[in-house]
Amino acid sequence: MWRRWRGVLRTPLGLGAAALTAAVLVLAVVAPMLWTDDANAVDTGNILAGASGEHWAGTDNLGRDILYRTLVATRLSVELAVAATAIAVLAGLVLGTAGFVLGRRSSRLVSATINIAVAFPGILLALFFAVIFGVGATGAVFAIGLAGAPVFGRLTQTLVAGVAARDFISAARIAGVGRLRILVRHVLPNIAEPLVVNATIGAGGALLSFAGLSFLGLGVQQPDYDWGRLLFDGVGSIYVNPAAALAPGAAVLLAGLAFNLLGESIAKALGVGVVGGIPALGPAPVSLAAEDAPVEPAGHDGTDLVLDVRDLEVTFPGARGPIRPVRGVSFGVRRGEAVGVVGESGSGKSLTALAVSRLVGEPGRVEASRLELLGHDLRARDSRAQRRLLGTSLTMVFQDPMTSFNPTRRMGGQLAEVARHHQGMDRRAALARAVDRLRAVRIGDPERRAHQYPHEFSGGMRQRAMIGMGLMGSPALIVADEPTTALDVTVQQQVLDLLATIRAADDVALVLISHDVTVVGEVCDRVLVMYAGRIVEDLPAADLAGSARHPYTRALVAAVPDMDTDLDQPLAVIPGRPVDPADVPPGCAYAARCPLATARCRAEDPPLESDGTGRRVACWHAGEPIAVEIADREEVEV
């Protein structure tokens, strides 16, 4: 935890902000002790003097030194800002947590109050309170503090709501822990960091607001002075001595910046940094021909291939050298064929699909010795012709139909767009085609539906519309990445049935990526099993249940209960965890979890070899009986 805080100091901005803040705080303590007398010394011979060697920032209307006054004013300025921030944070905490402690009805009232108050800008609230509390430093502290309270209240409320929605709060309540105790033990520790960060930023804001109020003459009154007051006095004589305004102005700006930037730096250091998930964006460059050896894909005659992939690799830059989540994948898909790709999270199956569709984004790199769709080389540079080919012949269906449509545009328009860009249809014709395609994917009342927005569709309907969007062209291949994972079983069935119908009607090929062996087994002709970025087995779907030869495939099938599982036996368990793509061991990647593993497996990676019947497997011990049933007792997850 402290390591994360120390991360603040590692960026130049964070280090600078921390140093500046420390300097301001030290000055606040030291300056009044050292220079109070200098600051109050009246020099009648030097009234309103400009900057000189004697008075670096000139003097005021009593001949007092502006620079010393600015330095001494640090303490009062910081004190007032901190006091105001404390009031804002405390009042905000009370407001923001009241709802959690008091229960549903009071929480509504409190949040309605906060909502109204937060709509009014802080300076307006501060003016309002300044009128009530009266002109002067004390009034201004309360005015700025209370003006900041709604913002902190809202922040606290949001943070508390975020934590309260999590299951561990429910668990604590079920265990009989009281609300106040939950607040102290579970909620506050989990919101402390963002609160501290925002309080730091808030202190910077309070400092500047205070300067604002004093600048208007509503804050600190003579003979006391803070930076705002000095600025107020200095601006009046800005033509005579600009330094009298600029010195306190610079001071308040520096101090405000210091607190603000420190807060921002802490926020950045503590927050989730830019860590590499692997999302898809614009087409990454596909490097040309690694080798041109004409290797036929195992087991296929290569004549009616819709998709032909050889030695596909996907690489991302990592903190410790490049990461290769896909490590040499070769397969072909024939016209009308349904190929399933299964594997656990991190096996590289989705990335394979994205790479094939040229949707891996930078900084990812895709390399292949062959990557052809309908005989066209997809490794060529992005061109209009290639976009048209991909846009009309290849269809993608993604996992989450909730997020895969643009929420701000009507469904019909989103479908029509494809025809307008790739088939040159006009608006009307494209929309008519969209309606027709919605009908084709069995969406009732398609004319009305085309005018609706995605949020007005149910999950299953959205997924069907996504398929319909793919049918705007005349696809030869549908790549579906977990298309039913987010759906209910009955809806899942409708979507799978729809895919099957389309396939049968137009001889469209399908690549179905799924973690669910049973789904793939039901829908596909052939299954590719992936582990740690490689295909470990390629077999007919019908053989999945009975005669898989790779121990991983067999374990994967056995670990999932189906409607025929023997109820008297414990489920098979795969010990250990899946391989981290950043840390692939030498030899067979599955060896550490494999009951058949030998010294050879740990040293040498088995190649994916065809057995002559069209099946391929990568295992030194393919098909060997697995004698020892792994008992549940010994299962270790490390």
């Binding site: 668990a171 604590a172 009955t490 973690h515 669910d516 209960p561």
Partner: protein
Amino acid sequence: MTTEGGLRFEDVTVRYGATTAVDGVSLTVPPGQVVGLVGESGSGKSTLARAAVGLAPVCAGRITLDGRPVPTRGRRRPLQMVFQDPYSSLDPRMRIGDSIAEALPPGRSRAERRAEVERLLELVHLDPGRAAVLPALLSGGQRQRVALARALAADPQVVIADEITSALDVSIQGAVLNLVRELQRELGLSLLFISHNLAVVRYVASHVAVMHDGAIVEEGPAHRVLTDPCHDYTRELLAAVPGSTAPDRPRRTP
């Protein structure tokens, strides 16, 4: 199913504003039995569970445990729940041992509590030496074990398991299911096991109730409901299970 003991839902209705999430549901979890509750999202199965532990408001009907209303106040909580998402159900800033200890019934010395936490960790096959570890260091499967241990810490009469394996990778799901069956057998636990996955429910539960649109449409011994369903909706669910060979839907072949 008409015994006096166990967890009983009698005509329970839960409403959120204008929507009725649970509509007059009656269901019994007899002592020492596992009742599976299946249904799709929005069927109200999770709401029913949350109502039982006091996290959702009961509009009508009552929920009793051994004939008495389920206590939703005070420290003694004989009904416990395990949640779906293991990444949300443990306080990221609390050591797992403390999370478990928090659920222990009050009135024990510090040493007794520590011993009890160690016993519970062992029960769910976790190293008792890791009690001082923060959840961030555990895998999803291990977290779900901790959540089970916390539920057991309260010495519950009934445990509700709400989709506890659906957020886990397939290779880990099996291990958690095995653990649930083992705990049930060894401790004679009563369990309300909620899942959308029929095969998982079939593996764990002896009784099955099917929920649809806030109501229970069919209920009975697991074997009977899953092989010889009476209600159309149950049939539809069964037919939709991937890989199933239900007679009314021919297996597709290219």
